[in-house]
């Protein structure tokens, strides 16, 4: 495997990691707000804050890792995406900043106000929506490039059915993944009152998730036929994705093995995300940037991969420690510690 392929695989894995754990976080924010608005917050909020408190910072790092790594492996992306995404990128930063700092302010500082709950819920949906713009742009057709100057065609982006499909898919996926995790966590915590609530969320959001996946697929066939054709070649990955989706829904509906159900949701998104990514290659930004033409030099690529392996040796045991302390320590989950 060339260092370019290793590089993009590693980055894609981290983006996938971010997709899962940030979705849990974003969705939890929305559910907490929704529960408050419908006066069911007493059932839910303890569960949510117990999980989120020790991990909120780690979530952000997955994202930082992805974009720093992307610029490192493929410096040309900094130029194109950097110029094109000034406005949506800045909005995403502001939303992330509001969410992250308010979370700490409220959680360590004082009691939860209504304004905070609203911002926490709203940013949970707006951040994935604004970040998904980058994925839409990567399909091509939204940038104007002349004499090496790049600019975003905002009008075209805002009227594109494909871009709106992606936004919608991002939001409902976030809610589905989050609800799936909270179902698992509530069951694990033995929280009998929260469990039926979050389980119903998971079942409810499964339907828009699978629907939006299909409509996005169709919208892509019109927007970028090349990408669509290549995705059809990888039909088995998307087939597996749907199969794991059905397994997850079956288990949650039956009310058993919630851990396995959440794992199936993770696999559902793993296959869909990697199927999408693999079909996207070699392009990072259609048709301007490919992983081969625009990769960093081989020496830097190798140095980055070595640093990455060294980093993993350090991080994996630490992450395992964190999960054992907070996620899999039965006493902690149940609130006894």
């Amino acid at each position: 495997m060339s260092y370019q392929v290793v590089g993009i695989t590693v980055l894609w894995l981290f983006l996938y990691g971010y997709l899962i754990i940030a979705s849990i976080d974003f969705g939890a924010g929305f559910f907490a707000f929704y529960a408050k608005a419908t006066q069911k917050d007493h059932l839910l909020n303890k569960l949510i804050s117990r999980y989120l408190s020790p991990v909120w910072e780690v979530t952000n790092v997955f994202f930082v890792f992805f974009f720093v790594g992307l610029v490192g492996f493929f410096p040309q992306t900094a130029y194109y995406y950097g110029t094109a995404l000034l406005v949506p990128g800045s909005i995403a930063i502001v939303l992330l900043a509001i969410r992250g700092s308010f979370y700490a302010f409220e959680n360590y500082g004082s009691r939860k106000s209504n304004l905070y709950m609203f911002l926490y819920g709203a940013t949970g949906l707006l951040i994935p929506a604004s970040l998904s713009v980058a994925l839409s742009i990567s399909e091509g057709g939204f940038l104007r490039v002349s004499d090496g100057e790049v600019s975003l065609m905002l009008q075209r982006l805002l009227t594109s059915p494909y871009a709106w499909n992606v936004v919608f898919l991002a939001i409902v996926s976030v809610l589905f993944i989050s609800a799936g995790f909270l179902t698992f966590y509530a069951n694990r915590a033995g929280d009998k009152r929260a469990l039926p609530l979050v389980r119903s969320y998971a079942l409810f959001w499964s339907i828009p998730t699978i629907t939006a996946s299909l409509t996005t697929f169709i919208a892509l066939s019109r927007h970028n036929p090349r990408h669509y054709e290549k995705m059809l070649d990888l039909w088995w990955m998307f087939g597996l994705s749907v199969a794991f989706f059905l397994v997850a829904i079956y288990l949650i509906y039956q009310g058993e093995k919630y851990g396995l159900a959440f794992f199936s949701i993770m696999l559902q998104f793993f296959f869909a995300f990697f199927g999408y990514g693999k079909a996207h290659l070699p392009y990072l930004l259609y048709p301007y940037i490919t992983i081969y033409k625009d990769a960093t030099h081989a020496t830097m690529g190798q140095a980055l991969i070595i640093a990455f392996i060294g980093g993993l040796v350090l991080l994996v045991p630490s992450l395992v420690m964190l999960m054992r302390l907070f996620l899999f320590d039965a006493d902690y989950v149940k609130g006894k510690k």
Partner: protein, 454 residues
């Protein structure tokens, strides 16, 4: 907007983000060390005061870390959004430490999460203390890696550039460029100094108001933080001296700009403050004979390169002289005031309660943070017009997007909100939970009967 355009707006926005972020970054690097020292003393002396100190500092620290994380994410993204051409080059040559910085921060974040939520979970308290070590290391290495990127901008090496194409890349050589060692030393020591100075200032402030019910607690805190201020102020001064010697050798125009030194000559005076006339003569300055030669080379008669040796369009603005002088002055103030306190502590203990001494210590906190700000302004403006010295000018690196002005306002609003909320939350956090009450709650039998703590 504001009479600025194009690259200048990008500079403004970057300057704004950095000057806000550096406050939280400095605290983020420095405070874990002080927390760790307090907890260790608490364990060794079995003194609940120090335990509580570590706990309370940590609680405040989490708030500042949150702001540090989000502003750090902001500057990380803004580098690509505002300086796309620069990041294209940087991505090729200096992305290794940028990449490793994320790892270091990741490492720190994981252990900070563990440290925060496990105060009472271990049978032996020393195990909990051990969790502070990776937090200190993670924070420290974050600073090391990011500083090496900034060092690279000053003395780029480890590649060759021909007709805009970059070849022969050596990532390690780029990272370990000549500016890295002194810069890293200076950044680390000044972060520890400033964090200690700020904690000391807060403690002294509470002691002055004299409403403190837990005086012993605060006095222990003051002693610890002022001693740390002194130790790191001395180290910072040494680092500053080494930095000047580095500049004299590798980036002489930057030192000369800070010193208003125009003609290359031997045995040069050091100029403090003063006013620069249109004909490059200096008025009303304090002159220390031959001191610049000594600062630059450790030799009173050494030759120091002057600004007139450089093309006029490659010189930084000369107001950086004041930034440099103020930074040094505030650094000296930190040494002086902490030394005074220590001397009194040793020989005239009664005077350490003196309100004027405490006021001087309160002042030291904001001055130390201003020294950090001024130091960075000097470091960044002193490199102008270059973004990558000798290779790329700032004006060629900025984004061509027409929306930078609007983003400047957006982020200005964000930082104002974050700054105010951060202060309000911190105040509330400690106001609602005073030391004497928390002490009584957590350690009901303290002070131990017959013990020396009263």
């Amino acid at each position: 907007m504001f009479g600025l355009e194009g690259p200048d707006l990008s500079r403004m926005l970057t300057a704004m983000t950095l000057s806000f972020h550096i406050i939280f970054a400095t605290i983020g690097v420095g405070v874990p060390l002080l927390i760790s020292i307090a907890e260790l003393i608490g364990i060794k002396k079995k003194d609940p005061h120090y335990h509580l100190l570590a706990r309370r500092w940590t609680r405040g620290f989490t708030i500042t870390v949150a702001v540090g994380v989000v502003t750090g994410t902001a500057i990380g993204l803004q580098l690509s959004l505002l300086w796309p051409s620069f990041m294209k080059v940087a991505g090729n040559v200096i992305s290794l430490p940028l990449f490793m910085e994320t790892f270091a921060f990741f490492f720190e974040a994981i252990f900070l999460g563990a440290y925060l939520y496990t105060w009472d979970r271990f049978k032996k308290p020393i195990y909990h203390w051990l969790l502070s070590i990776p937090v200190i290391l993670g924070a420290g290495f974050s600073a090391v890696f990011i500083t090496s990127v900034n060092a690279f901008m000053n003395t780029p090496q480890g590649f060759t550039m021909q007709d805009g194409k970059i070849t022969a890349i050596d990532p390690i050589k780029a990272m370990l460029n000549p500016a890295t060692p002194t810069k890293v030393f200076h950044v680390l020591s000044s972060s520890y100094l400033t964090s200690a100075a700020i904690l000391a200032a807060i403690t002294a402030f509470i002691l002055i108001r004299n409403r403190a019910k837990a005086k012993t607690y605060y006095k222990k805190a003051l002693k610890l933080t002022v001693i740390m201020t002194f130790v790191f102020a001395i180290l910072t001064a040494i680092a500053g001296d080494l930095s000047a010697k580095f500049l004299a050798e590798y980036q002489p125009e930057k030192l000369a700009a800070a010193e208003w030194h125009f003609e290359t000559e031997e045995a040069v005076d050091l100029i403090l403050f003063g006013k620069l006339n249109a004909d490059n003569t200096v008025e009303r300055a304090i002159r220390i004979p031959k001191a610049l030669s000594f600062l630059a080379f450790g030799d009173f008669n050494a030759e120091v390169k002057g600004l007139n040796d450089y093309p006029k369009d490659e010189l930084p603005p000369l107001w950086v002289h004041y930034m440099f002088d103020l930074m040094v002055t505030f650094g000296m103030y930190a040494i002086g005031v902490s030394l005074l306190y220590i001397v009194l502590l040793k020989w005239k203990k009664g005077l350490t309660d003196n309100k004027w001494l405490l006021r001087l210590l309160v002042l030291n906190g904001p001055l130390a943070m201003l020294a950090i700000e001024f130091g960075w302004i000097y470091a960044e403006v002193g490199r102008q017009p270059w973004i990558l010295r000798g290779y790329m000018k700032v004006s060629d690196a900025a984004t061509t997007s027409p929306h930078v002005g609007a983003m400047l306002l957006l982020f200005l609003a964000l930082y104002i909100v974050l700054g105010i909320l951060c202060l309000v939350v911190l105040r509330k956090l400690f106001h609602h939970n005073p030391v004497h009450m928390e002490l009584a709650e957590r350690y009901p039998n303290f002070p131990w009967k017959g013990g020396k703590h009263k």
